[in-house]
Every structure is written in structure tokens, then in C-alpha cells.
Amino acid sequence: MSWEHFAHEADIGVRGRGATLAGAFEEAAIALTAVVTDPRRVAPTLRVDVRCAAPNVEILFVDWLNALIYEMATRRMLFGRFAVTIDANALRAEAWGEPLDRIRHEPAVEVKGATYTALAVGKAADGAWEAQCVVDV
């Protein structure tokens, strides 16, 4: 289970890896938070439920990140812990986080949306699941 950012000339890519598809989605969500702040600074004190459904798993991944971006924007929250289940291109998740604190979290930049650029979801050569795309900041 791990996450990382990858370079895009104007913006930033998020990538999650996990033993399962859901695990990769969870890790990518941490990478999304890391665009804004250090995820370790986000206390998991409040729970928000997220639901998405899509025609395929790649669009489901973009929908998942966009659902989190929407919750972050409208609730003015950051999330640091995620529990995802995926069944037949339908996703149910719990996102745990806390209200944004501009002093403690030092938010670097707002994420506008997840894009279809460099979008890929699948199994890597080592058997781990990977999910990635570029996000617009």
C-alpha cells in the first residue's frame, strides 16, 4: 500500500497502489490530500460517506476523486483516512477527516478537479493494483 505524485508540466499526478483495487483507490485519495497538505497532519475526527457509480472502473476512479474534491470544497474539510469498497463499478466509501485549519494544515493549493489525463487503473507487473490520473490545481 503506497501513494505517490508524478509530474505533469502544469499540474500534478496522483497515484495509489494497493493489494486490491479498493486499496489503490484509498491510497490515491491520500495522494490527493497530499497535493493540499501533509496527510499525517489531518486528524480523522469526522466521517463523510461517499457513493459513486460509473460505466467503467477508470471513470469510477475519476468520479471518486471528484467526489472527494467536492466534499473538501463544500464542507471545507480535509481527509486523511479512507475505507473503500468496490462492487461492479459501484463504490461506497468512508472518508475520515477534519475541518480545514489554515494555520495547522498550511494548505498549499486547491484542487479544481480530477482529469482523464494519464488516467489508468489496472494491475501492475508485480500484481499490485494501481490507479492514477492528473489533477488540475
Binding site: E9, N66, Y70, P107, E110
Partner: protein, 476 residues
């Protein structure tokens, strides 16, 4: 990019031959050094745009072109509805109508030197900037719809700014054809607390000094002289535009195949202009343009209040307001005949020529002011539209410097405090809620805006008028 794969047709104009599924050639306006510095993704994306149905003349890229989403940033493409043309949510992007407005102040650098620290602090206190900031204005459903229908005109009617401002805004302050009913409740909800906010990332409010004049007659007409102080505001349609982009991109990406459109890249998500989804998107996208115009109008009002508190004799008047990420219906002459086209500008500025009917009287002789943002350290430029620009790329020019490295690389190289201190040593005051945000926007992370502007000038896309450097920068 290797220039060897392009045909050089003029000093700063290169053609990409039409190959494969391309319906038109590609054209890049840049000098050789800029071409060599462009990512290989740029020609790929120019070629992809050229495959879209109904594209007219060419798939264009401005001198600041870089790797974008579907379209390159700095991409311009026009589509004809009569020829099955499309409108693309990807071609407009997430930050709909992100743009720049510049205000004259009637002050010179001498007037503000003694109070610039106070001015920086007052601007930073009054302009909501950065993630988590909220505007003082909260709109209920009917006022939200009124704002989306009439943009800066609505803002002025609410007391944000002056009636005389409106002539100096594209579309005279209100984008026609906006349909608030096509904007989702989620998009409106996302905007609820964000009216009159700057945002983050590359958005800013700068107090700037005019340091160089290239075209005295036009500068006089624009009201610009060396050592004048101006204010430039760079921001867009905030959460509302982002959500509209997100929703229509998805709908168009999924629906393209059913509409008979083969997308070489899902991010080029588009629909026929005359399809139901195409029409709904145009209504929503125009509402987002109005949101951006209203937002910049409210920020103008807040800026005037800040100046009044520190420099009561300042009179802030609008030079002009331009938008970068739009699709607009315009008439252009193609092969000798006027045609109504849907012109997409993704990270590109409209540059109307002298005498154009959409220009206010003040700019009939000069052409449209083209406002180009640079970085915190290098400065910005004001150019003007020319008769030649109308013939090259549907009256379009570049929009900024463009990044030269990723945000991650920038934070690896520079610390935010160091960037702030270095710029302070050069007389540039940075005010930002986020030091990491400042590091990500370090001047060294951007290309040389001077090279981009010189290429635009030499290509004939627009003519240089003035160069500005920052004195104060409020960074989101």
C-alpha cells in the same frame, strides 16, 4: 520538441502537416528556442484537436503552449456548427473564464513607496485568498441565478463597482446566452461561499509598476506611462466553474461514442454544438463566464476599498478585463467569407483588432488591450490586438509564461520563506497564507515570459505596449 518535424512558414510560425485523422494542419506560433523547449505532448495534443469534427482552418498553439488536458494550454481551435462542429468541455477546461483584469490607479511609484507595506497588509486582509478562504457575500438561489445570468453587470447593480467599469469588460460585463438552469445544484453549492475570492495556485492580485513602454501612442491611449502604478487581478469562476467542467467533461466523454465522435483522448470530451448536451453545456459554460466576471468585479470593489483606506486620493479605473478559458461564438473571415464559429481558447487571450465592433470606443483606434500575466519575479506585459492578429489565429494571443517545472520539483528546489525573502530583497512584497504555495509558484518554476511575449509580437498575434513588474503580490 524537435523543430525538424515542423515546416517553418515564417520567423515565428510553424506548420504541422495534416496527417492521419487530422482534418486540418496544426500551426504553432513561437521562435525556435520556444519550440525546442516545448514538451512532446504539445504536438500530440495539437494533432488530436485537429481530428475533431467541424474544425476550421487549423489547430493553433500560442507561444506559451504546454502540455494540457486534451487541448494544449495555449490552444486555439474554431468549429463550425454547419459543418457538424463540436463544443468541447475539455477544450475550455475546469477554470472557466479564468482571466486577468487590470486597473489604473492614477498613482506613481513615488505615491506608494512610503505606504507599500501598509498597502500590502491591507490588501491581504481584505482580499480572501487561498484554500479555505470565504467571501463575505453568500447568495441565495434567486440571487445566484441572477448573478449567473448577468455577470459583472449584476455585481455593479449590487453596488460592487461602477457602471463605467462595464464597457471595459469583455462582453460589456455580461455573457449573453447564459442559462443558469443548466448549472447543477452541486455547482451552485460549491460557489456559495466563494464569491469575491481569489482562489489559489497561480491566481494572484498584484500592485504593479510600469517599467517600460514599447508603443507610446497606444500606451497613451491605454493611460499607461513609466512609473505608473496599476493593479492586476488573475482569477476565474471558482468552484462553480470547476464543478461545471467536471460534470460536463464526464457526460461528454461517456456520450461521445454515441454521438459518432472518435476521441483520440478522453479529455477532448465534446459534443455536437447543435446536440442537446452541447446546448446545455454552452448555457452552463456562459453562466460560469458570468460568475468569473462577477467575481473579478467584486474583487475590484474590495481592491478599491483597500486603496481608499491607505491612499484616499487613488482613483482606480478599469483598463480592461480578459478571459482565457472560454468558447465564444464569433464571426471570422475564412477564405474570404465571414463565418460564425465557436472559438475555443484554452489558456489563450482574445486579441481583437482596431475597429472591431465588440470593442469599446476607447480602443477602436488601438485594438484590444491584451493582458499577459508572468511570474512573481519576472513581471507582466500589456499588448494590443492588431489587424494582423485577426487573420492569424481567430484574433488570439498568448496568456502567460507557462510553467517550466512541476510543483513537486519547485518545492524540492525552493522553500517558501526563501522565495518571499529573496523577492523582498528586490522590493517585491509577497503576502500569502501558504509558504508551500509560494514555493510552488516560485519565479524560477516559470518560463521566461519575455520570450513568450516577444514571439507573440514577432508572429503578429499582438503588439507589445508595456512591461510591468510587481510591487505587491497577494498570492492565493
Amino acid at each position: 520538441m524537435d523543430p525538424g518535424r515542423l515546416i517553418r512558414v515564417a520567423e515565428c510560425e510553424w506548420q504541422m502537416p495534416q496527417v492521419g485523422a487530422m482534418r486540418v494542419p496544426g500551426v504553432i506560433f513561437a521562435d525556435e528556442a520556444l519550440i525546442r523547449g516545448m514538451d512532446e505532448k504539445v504536438p500530440l495534443q495539437i494533432g488530436n484537436v485537429a481530428t475533431l469534427p467541424g474544425i476550421v482552418k487549423a489547430s493553433f498553439a500560442m507561444p506559451d503552449a504546454h502540455w494540457g488536458y486534451g487541448f494544449p494550454i495555449g490552444g486555439v481551435a474554431a468549429f463550425d456548427a454547419d459543418a457538424g462542429g463540436i463544443v468541447s468541455a475539455g477544450g475550455v477546461g475546469f477554470d472557466i473564464s479564468c482571466g486577468v483584469r487590470t486597473l489604473l490607479t492614477g498613482l506613481t511609484v513615488k505615491d506608494i513607496e512610503a505606504v507599500k507595506f501598509e498597502l500590502a497588509d491591507v490588501l491581504f486582509a481584505r482580499i480572501p485568498a487561498g484554500l479555505g478562504s470565504t467571501g463575505a457575500l453568500r447568495l441565495d438561489a434567486s440571487r445566484m441565478d441572477a448573478m449567473l445570468a448577468s455577470g459583472a453587470r449584476w455585481a455593479v447593480a449590487q453596488g460592487y463597482g461602477l457602471a463605467e467599469d462595464l464597457a471595459r469588460v469583455e462582453e460589456h460585463g455580461a455573457m449573453a446566452g447564459a442559462d443558469p438552469a443548466q448549472v447543477s445544484d452541486m455547482a451552485k453549492r460549491r460557489q456559495r461561499d466563494e464569491m469575491g475570492t481569489l482562489g489559489s495556485g497561480n491566481h494572484y492580485l498584484e500592485v504593479q509598476r510600469v517599467v517600460e513602454i514599447f508603443d507610446r501612442a497606444t500606451a497613451d491611449a491605454f493611460g499607461l506611462a513609466v512609473d505608473d502604478v496599476v493593479v492586476s487581478i488573475h482569477c476565474g469562476s471558482r468552484g462553480l466553474g470547476h464543478q461545471i467542467g467536471t460534470e460536463y467533461l464526464r457526460e461528454m466523454a461517456i456520450g461521445a461514442q454515441g454521438a459518432g465522435i472518435a476521441l483520440p483522448d478522453r479529455e477532448l470530451a465534446c459534443a455536437p454544438i447543435r446536440s442537446p448536451v452541447g446546448k446545455r453545456y454552452l448555457g452552463a459554460m456562459r453562466a460560469a463566464i458570468n460568475c468569473a466576471l462577477a467575481n473579478r468585479q467584486i474583487l475590484t470593489h474590495l481592491t478599491r476599498q483597500a486603496f481608499r483606506a491607505v491612499l484616499p486620493r487613488a482613483h482606480l479605473s478599469l483598463l480592461y478585463d480578459v478571459s482565457h478559458n472560454t468558447c465564444k461564438v464569433e464571426t471570422h473571415v475564412v477564405d474570404g467569407s465571414p463565418r460564425e464559429l465557436y472559438v475555443h481558447r484554452k489558456g489563450a487571450t482574445r486579441a481583437l483588432p482596431p475597429g472591431h465592433a465588440d470593442l469599446p470606443l476607447a480602443f477602436h483606434a488601438t485594438g484590444q488591450p491584451v493582458l499577459i500575466g508572468g511570474s512573481m519575479g519576472t513581471g507582466s506585459y500589456i499588448l494590443t490586438g492588431t489587424a494582423r492578429s485577426a487573420k492569424l489565429a481567430f484574433a488570439s494571443a498568448c496568456h502567460g509564461a507557462g510553467r517550466s517545472m512541476s510543483r513537486h520539483e519547485a518545492t524540492r528546489r525552493w522553500g517558501g520563506r526563501r522565495v518571499v525573502d529573496d523577492l523582498a530583497g528586490r522590493g517585491i512584497l509577497i503576502r500569502s497564507p501558504s509558504l508551500r504555495g509560494v514555493a510552488e509558484e516560485a519565479p524560477g518554476a516559470y518560463k521566461d515570459v519575455a520570450a513568450v511575449v516577444d514571439a507573440a509580437d514577432r508572429a503578429g498575434l499582438a503588439r507589445k505596449v508595456a512591461r510591468l513588474v510587481p510591487i505587491v503580490c497577494v498570492k492565493g
